[in-house]
Symmetry: C2
Subunit: 79 residues, 2 copies
């Protein structure tokens, strides 16, 4: 089973890397770009029971993968 985890900055938290990307896209002629935000995409391959996987992945995010002060996460489980 695979957990696809998305870690992004919370709304309201500055994202300088995203701002740099938005500016760079503008300079490259992509005038339609209004904003960009950058996060992490983590694919974790897991053994074991699907029923418990959700709670385990939740704990992985809180313990290691996301900084809960400035980031939030969401995930999906895929077979």
């Amino acid at each position: 089973m695979t957990a696809r985890i998305f870690v992004t900055r919370k709304k309201g938290v500055l994202d300088p890397q995203g701002q740099a990307v938005a500016r760079a896209l503008g300079r490259l002629g992509f005038d339609e770009v209004k904003d960009a935000r950058i996060g992490k995409f983590i694919e974790v391959t897991l053994d074991g029971d699907r029923a418990q996987a959700g709670a385990r992945v939740e704990k992985m995010c809180k313990d290691l993968l996301a900084n809960m002060v400035i980031e939030e996460y969401r995930f999906e489980l895929v077979d």
Copy 2:
């Protein structure tokens, strides 16, 4: 409109950051973790015509967001 872009390393390209995360999860007691791979998740807010947005986002990925030598991308457009 928002483009959600996922940039990941191509299969077969080493991912040391992912390996470090997999090992760290193992040390924290998540023995069910077999592998982890880390990519970027980029949300770009766009103006303009949806019909052309796909081709434009494709070009953004190739020109700036992904390193096509070692990375691949996929994206979805959301209203």
